[in-house]
């Protein structure tokens, strides 16, 4: 399941140790640089520089799962761009259009990959702490971390519900489009009811442990930026400036896929 590729895994690695705020900034930098370029070479470069990070974080299996999970969408993006290219260049497939279609697909994969690395290596707790440091109200931070943490739980539950309803003769892959959509009602209702029931139970359990008793709350772990975190942050910011500079002042070598005819 593609969602597995976003599930945090507690391991000790240099990437896991980086401050969540720094990791978030890096993800945003990769995100914006990815959107800055539409040329194939820098996009491939952006994608490949993430691979060593994946190895360093020991999350290759999970990361490749999220990439595999997004392949279907990637292929769709590729063909949609190709079709638009075909229409806009006077009903013919030019090498330019192919290159553009590949570039947009790689761009999408790069975005997926950077967020996958971020979520795989940042625990929801750390994320919550980072939000708290950004002076957001604690109730909001808590709701956010809980939501992130419950995504895999809900995914498991959805699978169980699908299994239970299929055991009662529900055939999800049969019938017209409309009747198939209607067949999801027996799956969505138990899922939503379960989520509401769980949230109410959780609220009671939290209140019986004095949630919200005091406005200012202390934390067992505090986020501290270490020297290494600052260094990583500065290097990433330089990388951002460098990419912006190249984008506007250097001609990027163009590379076009020849049409295989």
């Amino acid at each position: 399941m593609a969602l597995e590729g976003l599930k945090f895994k507690q391991i000790y690695s240099p990437i896991h140790k980086i401050d969540p705020r720094v990791k978030f900034v890096i993800s945003c930098i990769i995100f914006s640089v990815t959107l800055l370029y539409i040329e194939l070479i820098p996009l491939i470069l952006l994608f490949t520089i993430q691979v060593p990070l994946v190895y360093l974080a020991h999350v290759f299996k999970e990361w490749s799962r999220s990439i595999k999970g997004s392949l279907y969408l990637t292929i769709m993006i590729f063909f949609l761009n190709l079709i638009f290219g075909y229409f806009s260049s006077g009903y013919q497939i030019t090498s330019n259009a192919i290159t553009y279609a590949i570039a947009t697909s790689v761009r999408f994969l790069t975005l997926v990959s950077s967020f996958s690395i971020f979520f795989l290596t940042t625990s929801p707790d750390d994320l919550g702490l980072a939000l708290q440091r950004a002076r957001l109200p604690y109730a909001f931070c808590f709701a956010f971390t809980t939501a992130v943490r419950f995504v895999p739980v809900l995914a498991d539950e959805a699978q169980n519900i699908i299994d239970a309803q299929r055991s009662r003769g529900l055939e999800l892959d049969r019938g017209s489009f409309l009747s198939r959509v209607r067949k999801y009602i027996p799956i969505l209702i138990p899922l939503i009811v379960g989520a509401i029931r769980r949230s109410l139970e959780m609220a009671e359990a939290m209140e019986s442990r004095a949630f919200g008793a005091k406005d200012v709350r202390t934390n067992l772990y505090e986020l501290e930026m270490s020297g290494r975190d600052w260094m990583v942050l500065i290097i990433s910011l330089f990388a951002l400036l460098f990419s912006v500079y190249i984008r506007y002042y250097v001609t990027i070598p163009s590379f076009e896929i020849p049409i295989p005819i």
Binding site: R166, R168, I189
Partner: protein, 276 residues
């Protein structure tokens, strides 16, 4: 007949839940599958109606490979009652909930009405017929889930942890219901941790550990064997445990049910009285 041959199953996450499991269950048998958490019990029963297909090995239901049929086709023969009723309840009324599968299987209106009434009566739910399943208590919801499966009268009934959340009276009713269904010729398979319930029912017991069957035999034999139950992380029920403590004073100590134990203990008391 269910025939499981050298079954292996690996989840996409890489966990190998079943490792070379062999099991044959004939028509009309009553079987309890027991074992530690994570032994692969639920994974095994999800194979019985084709939700999971084997990674390696085969399962035949009445000589048909589960790989060659859809879940709906197999489910008509093998009804699987899930552990958590909240994973299936979605209708506005108990009646509609019980009728859901019957509609999926394409029964006529009259048959549906008849089967729903039959199933609701069987599980003592007739008074809740027009209520929402969501306002019922945990035990009642569990019974609605069971009624929803019994409604189409499958020849094999598989129950995952049927006794959880049931009070003593409901448990006793459940036991009688299971025995009734079994005596009418249906195969009943239940997964449970409830050793006392199994001791009361005295079915054939299949003990699982780490994805394999480690013992298979009558309840009396398996549940009085301290070594083998220990390997599957289950406790011997109270009566055999008591009889084990008394093994120096009574010759027969492999006893599972209350009445046999009572007779043996009365005999010991009588002998003691005579001596004094």
């Amino acid at each position: 007949m269910i025939d499981v041959k050298d079954l292996y199953f690996k989840y996409p996450s890489g966990i190998e839940a079943l490792r070379g499991l062999n099991l044959r269950i004939d028509d009309g048998e009553f079987v309890a599958i027991m074992g530690e958490n994570g032994a692969g019990k639920t994974t095994l029963i999800k194979h019985l109606n084709g939700i999971f297909k084997p990674s390696k090995g085969d399962i035949y239901i009445d000589d048909v490979d589960t790989r060659d049929s859809t879940i709906a086709e197999i489910s008509k023969k093998v009804g699987l009652v899930f552990q958590n009723p909240d994973h299936q309840l979605f209708s506005e009324t108990v009646e509609e909930e019980v009728a859901f599968a019957l509609k999926n299987f394409g029964y006529s209106e009259e048959v549906i009405d008849m089967r729903v009434t039959w199933a609701l009566n069987l599980l003592n739910l007739e008074s809740h017929r027009n209520e929402s399943p969501f306002i019922l208590s945990g035990g009642e919801r569990k019974r609605v889930a069971l009624a929803a499966i019994l409604a189409w009268n499958p020849k094999v009934i598989v129950l995952d942890e049927p006794t959880i959340g049931q009070d003593y009276e409901q448990k006793e009713r459940l036991r009688q219901l299971i025995i009734q269904l079994n005596s009418q010729g249906r195969t009943v398979i239940m997964v449970t941790h409830d050793v006392e319930f199994v001791a009361d029912c005295e079915p054939r017991v299949v003990l699982m550990s780490k994805g394999k069957v480690i013992a298979d035999g009558p309840a009396l034999e398996i549940l009085t064997d301290f070594e083998i139950t220990n390997r599957a992380s289950i406790l011997v029920p109270q009566i055999p445990s008591l009889m084990d403590h008394l093994k120096d004073v009574c010759a027969i100590h492999k006893i599972l049910n209350y009445h046999d134990a009572k007779n043996v203990l009365l005999e010991i008391a009588r002998v003691g009285q005579r001596k004094s």
